[in-house]
Symmetry: C2
């Protein structure tokens, strides 16, 4: 426990430095977390394509192994870098900082960080991001927020993915929303599908709203200490 | 790294004790691992119902929070106990040992241990089980074995779940099998669906085969040291 506390404390300090670096460069940073296979990469690829029309965007993507996701994301035309973590089940601020060493952050408006697919480990690691988005596919079951409360509690938005499969899996929408909000009261929830034309529109609306109000006025420093349940 | 090594070493010792306890009681132990929402609990509920006709079965089920899964599994009529891990992303041998303190293992032929939904953390923790089964749903994407090699490499069987959704998600069967076998050459793969009548038949055939050949002749002690990639 003591060791873990020290690791998190060190991470918090590095994340605070990153956040200051992002603020000075005027880059708005959004991280994505979810279980494996919730559709983060497909979601991010469509997002990068959409945003590139008006914004300068980049992405970092974490996985234990392979650079598959970076190769998928780079098709969007955005700058992308893969971080491979080996046996580590999450990104941390040090990995993000090192991945960005060669990047000129002034050249970006928006940076996305796709975390390792995991509903537990990434929850406690601040990456200096402005906002954290948790994705949850309709195929995973409506109870995931109850079973993995911290990751939903520390997110700023919940995105339901693969909505095109909702009928096929008899997705219980009301239960899913109620479960998300029971662990994080008041959190905004949007539903998306990368298989529908404009299937990410609810997410884009939310994102544009953030960009309009928050870019160049970054949110207060996120502390992992707020990762506590109500 | 040193701390983690000591934790794993301690876990290995406890798991060896558990394995000896299981062997003496003549109980065959199968653990299930997968990402969140791959369908472990639905799979296990159908399995317990099926086996109860001829075997004395019990189950332990791990989650960070809630006893939802135990309440689902107990409908099968089997003895079930929930283990809640708090913030820990996997079960360990100590948790399993403590959960079994009040159980008379002689009263069981088969014990299932459903781990926390996570494709990383459970890989390195021996629970004294005879066999480990990794589940992977068709909705997660065919590349999961490449991204989470250790959990597939340390499993004795790979079960593809939610096969009823294969067409809807355009599941690429050949890619999935090739990816599983590229990280674990020779591993047996079966496809299942809890929504089809007899949708678990390929799994039951495999299980009956194990039970015929292995019950009361438990496999050699599994060492986490074999959790290395080829």
């Amino acid at each position: 426990v003591e060791v873990r506390k020290n690791i998190l404390k060190k991470n918090d300090a590095l994340a605070a430095e990153l956040r200051e670096r992002f603020r000075r460069a005027g880059v708005f940073v959004v991280s994505l977390v979810s279980s494996p296979g919730a559709g983060k990469t497909a979601f991010l690829e469509v997002t990068l394509r959409h945003l590139r029309e008006r914004w300068r965007v980049g992405a970092l993507v974490g996985d234990l192994a392979t650079d598959n996701d970076a190769r998928r994301l780079v098709r969007s035309g955005a700058d992308v870098q893969q971080i491979t973590t080996g046996t580590v089940c999450h990104l941390d601020a040090d990995m993000v900082g090192r991945a960005l060493e060669k990047w000129d952050l002034d050249a970006y408006d928006l940076l996305f960080i796709e975390n390792v697919g995991n509903l537990v480990c990434p929850a406690s690691y601040d990456l200096g991001e402005n906002l954290r988005v948790v994705l949850m596919s309709v195929t995973e079951g409506e109870d995931k927020p109850l079973k993995y409360p911290t990751i939903f509690n520390t997110a700023d938005l919940a995105v339901i993915t693969k909505a095109d499969l909702a009928d096929a899996v008899e997705f219980r929408r009301d239960d899913a929303y109620a479960n998300v909000r029971s662990v994080h009261p008041g959190i905004r929830v949007v539903e998306t599908s990368t298989r529908w034309a404009d299937g990410l529109a609810p997410w884009f609306r939310q994102l544009e709203q953030w960009l309009a109000t928050e870019v160049r006025t970054p949110t207060a420093v996120r502390s992992t200490s707020r990762a506590t349940l109500p």
